[in-house]
């Protein structure tokens, strides 16, 4: 039972990383109907920016905040300069573009920072000790990652639900033509969406590096698959679904792998296939996902 509780918390922590990247994917999907395959590589790229900042003497959390801001600006710039020219074109064109970005950013990370192993973060951002809760030892790092990502999610929720800008962002995603008629600059809303997604993805990248050092140019590839699985599980249209899906997937994978120690099936090697199995099952059984909206419309 104790082990179970510990593994659930650990699963929630890794799940919150999948959830944040899934949220980034959902934000762009909602506004453009396109899955951004470059989201993971973008996160890796920005994590290397954080490494460079720390390497130049910036403190870890300062670098963290700066990186999130840089990622936001970078996301906006990417949309304006690269995505915008194909905006409104066939979906396949935009998808190919994001795959191109995936290759480009991956290549750039490898070229600029070389494919060598780096220790990052230099010091653990969270205490390595554990916290004893009624006999259950909970890692403070797990709690820290979970806490920061959930805090981020709450902030985003407040932005989208309670501000005029958030309303405009939602409107632009739901009905671009009607949004323009009420004066919403839809093009800029799309760019802001990319900026937000890149900023959220940056957090996922930073915490991936923190949770499983060292920093590696390919670290986000498996995470991207888990994020896809989380987004599909929650419903690609639903931000809350992405969070729920990410956390559920994190716990599921962690429990499967943990209890395998008794079965010796080496399921650890099957993490990615399990994620694919989740995607496949959801698409077959409930394509809208757990929280995908069934839009009610009277004609």
């Amino acid at each position: 039972m104790t082990e179970f509780a510990q593994q659930v918390v650990a699963g929630l922590a890794s799940g919150s990383i999948y959830a944040t990247l899934a949220l980034a994917i959902v934000i762009i999907y909602r506004s453009t109907g396109v899955v951004n395959f470059a989201q993971g590589e973008l996160a890796t790229f920005t994590t290397f920016i954080a490494w460079t900042l720390v390497d130049h003497g910036v403190g870890y959390w300062g670098a963290f905040a700066l990186t999130v801001l840089i990622a936001f600006a970078g996301g906006v710039a990417l949309e304006r300069l690269v995505v915008r020219p194909v905006e409104g074109g066939p979906v396949l064109t935009v998808v190919m573009l994001t795959i191109g970005l995936f290759i480009l950013l991956g290549g750039l990370s490898n070229w600029i920072w070389k494919a060598e192993v780096r220790s990052f973060p230099p010091n653990r951002p969270f205490p390595t000790s554990t916290w004893d809760l009624g006999g259950v030892a909970i890692s403070k790092q797990d709690l820290g990652i979970l806490g920061v990502t959930l805090g981020l999610v709450v902030l985003l929720y407040l932005l989208f639900q309670y501000t005029k800008l958030g309303l405009a962002l939602r409107a632009a995603a739901l009905n671009p033509a009607a949004s323009r008629l009420v004066g919403v600059r839809v093009g800029w809303m799309l760019a802001l969406g990319w900026g937000l997604a890149a900023a959220i993805g940056a957090v996922a990248g930073l915490f991936t590096a923190a949770a499983s050092p060292p920093l590696d140019p390919n670290m986000m590839r498996p995470i991207l698959i888990y994020a896809f699985a989380a987004a599909v599980l929650g419903g690609l249209e639903s931000p809350i679904g992405a969070i729920v899906g990410g956390l559920a997937l994190g716990v599921l994978l962690n429990l499967v792998v943990t209890y395998d120690t008794h079965l010796h099936l080496e399921l650890d090697r099957l993490r990615l296939p399990i994620a694919f199995l989740v995607i496949l099952t959801v698409l077959l059984v409930r394509p809208a996902g757990l929280l995908g909206r069934a839009v009610v419309r009277r004609v």
């Binding site: 005029k164 309303l167 405009a168 939602r170 409107a171 739901l174 009905n175 033509a177 009607a178 949004s179 323009r180 008629l181 009420v182 004066g183 919403v184 600059r185 839809v186 909206r293 839009v295 009610v296 419309r297 009277r298 004609v299």
Partner: protein, 234 residues
């Protein structure tokens, strides 16, 4: 005093030219109707004004050239367009739809909402309802209410009667008439229901194949032989 002027406006969707030199005007505080059959270019005329379709020719609002402006800029200049099919945000609440109507007005929600509620008292109890679950008539009323939230100088109404019961259509046009009389709101309305359109407007244009075929005071057009035969059915 002219509020809106179109001078020789052409518009096309890709290779298909839909408007051929359309000229029309709407004065301050005037209700003007555009009649015509399917495909005559009525909706395209409104879309050209709003910047939703590429056009050439002159479009002026209060003397200022707005032709070629993006829809969000046209909205900023004071034109509220209620598109065909209403263009409401079905997934959002009634209140959020109205908030979007006031998007361009700084802190303009409270005052605007008071005014709009005077015309549509039922909005208050439905404010948290998902707009897509309203009846067709309510959705059309909401679309109109949302347009009013922007405090426009000119209201563009595209086929407001489409698919609605006659009693709801009458109510809708009664409200538009009241807005015009009480507040001097200028309206350009495109309508298949010619009888209703002519009764509710002071002047009208008849479009045929993308050209203005006839224009004049609505009362005169209603007496016109060809208009009666083609659009009024008697």
């Amino acid at each position: 005093m002219r509020l809106l002027e179109l001078d020789g406006v052409d518009a096309r969707y890709g290779p298909v030219q839909v408007l051929h030199g359309v000229s029309l005007e709407v004065g301050e505080g005037e209700v003007v109707a555009v009649l015509g059959g399917n495909g005559a270019g009525k909706t395209t005329t409104l879309r050209a004004i709003s910047g939703l379709v590429a056009q050439s020719g002159e479009i002026r609002l209060g003397g200022e050239r707005i032709g070629g402006s993006a829809p969000e800029r046209v909205a900023r200049l004071g034109i509220a367009h209620v598109p065909e099919g209403r263009g409401i945000f079905g997934e959002l609440s009634v209140r959020d739809n109205l908030r979007l109507g006031a998007y361009l007005r700084r802190n303009g929600f409270a005052a605007g909402y008071e005014r709009v509620r005077g015309y549509f008292p039922w909005l208050e109890e439905r404010r948290d309802q998902q707009a897509g679950t309203l009846s067709g008539g309510e959705q059309q009323m909401l679309a109109l209410a949302r347009a009013l939230m922007a405090r426009p100088r000119l209201l563009l109404l595209d086929e407001p009667s489409l698919g609605l019961a006659p009693s709801i259509v009458r109510e809708l046009f009664r409200i538009v008439g009241e807005l015009n009389e009480k507040e001097g709101l200028a309206v350009l309305v495109v309508e298949q229901n010619a009888k209703l359109a002519l009764r509710s407007s002071s002047r009208a244009y008849v479009l045929e194949a993308g050209r203005v075929a006839l224009e004049g005071p609505s009362g005169e057009l209603a007496e016109n032989e060809s208009v009666r035969k083609a659009y009024l059915g008697y």
